[in-house]
Amino acid sequence: MIQGLLPDLAVVRKDFPILERTLAGGVPLVYLDSANTSQKPQVVIDAMVDHLERHNANIARAMHQLGAESTAAFEEARDKVAAFIGAPSRDEVIFTKNASEALNLVANVLTWAEGSLRPGPGDRVVITEMEHHSNIVPWQLLTQRTGAELAWFGLTDEGHLDLSRVDELIDERTKVVAFTWVSNMLGTINPVAELTRRAHEIGAIVVVDASQAAPQLPIDLAAMPEAERPDVVVFTGHKVVGPTGIGVLWGRGDLLSQLPPFLGGGEMIETVRMERSTYAGIPHRFEAGTPPIVEAVGLGAAVEYLAAVGLEDIRRHEHAITEYALEGLASVPGLHVIGPKVAEERGGAISFELDGVHPHDIAQVLDSRGVAVRAGHHCAKPAHARFGVQSSTRMSSYLYTTPAEIDALIDALNYTRSYFKVG
């Protein structure tokens, strides 16, 4: 018996209508691409439908009853998201369109900031080699535009951050340290508290990409000692069983309040004259235009659902599945996992190579058996380059994944080897 699985796994699976789907040839779906996007429980879909069919109206601006209902639903979603991550204040929760926008928002407002917040020539922005492109490109653009230097943590052969150069990278010149909590390619869990403490010692701003962490790790920002609490944490709705079209930026209130606006228009203003405008306080300052209303409603239902199942339990489940998967993958001849080999050090995304078969071809054969994985660079080209590969195959589990699905993956991988006559 595998320890740590969700006790009600069969019930949880029933919450996700898509898991009943069959694919070409009548084969059942084995969805192992949750790090790419998660599936949605009925309760999220129903919340969205109810909103669209009964409460739809624009928010804030509308005084009528539908407007009040819609506004209440939107702002309750903010409360729910704040509770989900233990935000010290609900007004520090800003809705964006996805995690990528949230990261770009931070990089942009720092580019336009006045005074010492703006990195300039001689200053440094530090990222890591395991970042998703969405946490690389915005910082490349910022440093190109401001003249600051871009530097990064390299990786060890085991797929951890190489912290040996930490003193060189994080010194008084460093203005921003941005890194991922959990790698979407390697699965690595990074030492958020330790890195944040280091960065805070020299007064740098810490931006954490929690896109892969939020789905599977309990996060309680208010419970973190201030020195170890990042200044900004972002994640994306569609990976926490919510809809697309919404992301979350949490930021320390007194930092956000000092930053200039990102996009202009709609409710982000205090007053507008033709010559010049003044801007609203947070969170509205950073929410230009009609926000993702029905998406917020869906996201609120999503994080409530995850909280009801229990993040600790989800974490344990992911851990059990990951351990089982690592064992299974180790049994496939010629298969090499890239990243930490121990479940304790990683999240549920596992990338691997299979000697003699290109990831695309693996994914294709797997797909013919209903097993959905991702093949490619997973928006982490530098991390692939670091390990000398151009692409990889990635399986990623979630709270609805069963050991039987892992068995199906391993079977399909062995079948792939025989199909392409390798080994």
């Binding site: 804030a60 601006r61 509308a62 005084m63 009528h64 407007g67 009040a68 506004t71 209440a72 409710e267 203003i269 205090e270 007053t271 609203a280 509205h284």
Partner: protein, 151 residues
């Protein structure tokens, strides 16, 4: 009483017409300008304090308000209640008003403290209008803070 009548109580419509203490006056230690960004309602408000610390007296509150009957009557009621009190007495009133306005109509306000201002219980039930009623009260709090900073 219909929802509408409980919102637009006579006290409120009356204050909206009479606009007690309206107009900007000298002397003052702080002037603030607050806007409700959603609807554009505006208030410019001045406070004049007499003395220092919590025992200082709110000698005057003068204002210029542009807005709906809820927001203008709230300014009128507030100035009528607070002028002449000590800062700490005034704060008791303000806190009670805020508690009522944030109570979604569930909070039982102390009528002895709020006097005419209890009429805004009907507004507290309408989330979209709460900001209207609070506009001048928030401006007052802000102005007092600034007046104290500067002294």
């Amino acid at each position: 009483m219909s929802d509408l009548d409980s919102l637009y109580q006579d006290v409120i419509l009356d204050h909206a017409k009479r606009k007690l203490n309206a107009g900007l006056r000298e002397p003052f230690e702080a002037e603030v300008h607050h806007v409700n960004p959603t609807c554009g309602d505006e208030v410019t408000l001045r406070v004049h304090l007499d003395g220092e610390g919590p025992d200082a007296t709110v000698a005057d509150i003068s204002y210029d308000a542009l807005g709906c009957s809820i927001s203008t009557s709230a300014a009128s009621v507030m100035t009528d209640l607070l002028i002449g009190r000590t800062l700490s007495e005034a704060d008791t009133v303000v806190q009670e008003f805020l508690a009522m306005m944030r109570g979604k109509g569930q909070y039982e306000p102390d009528e002895d403290v709020l006097e005419d201002a209890v009429a805004f219980q009907g507004t507290a039930r309408l989330s979209a209008r709460v900001k209207c009623a609070l506009l001048s009260w928030m401006a007052y709090q802000d102005a007092v803070t600034r007046a104290q900073e500067d002294s």
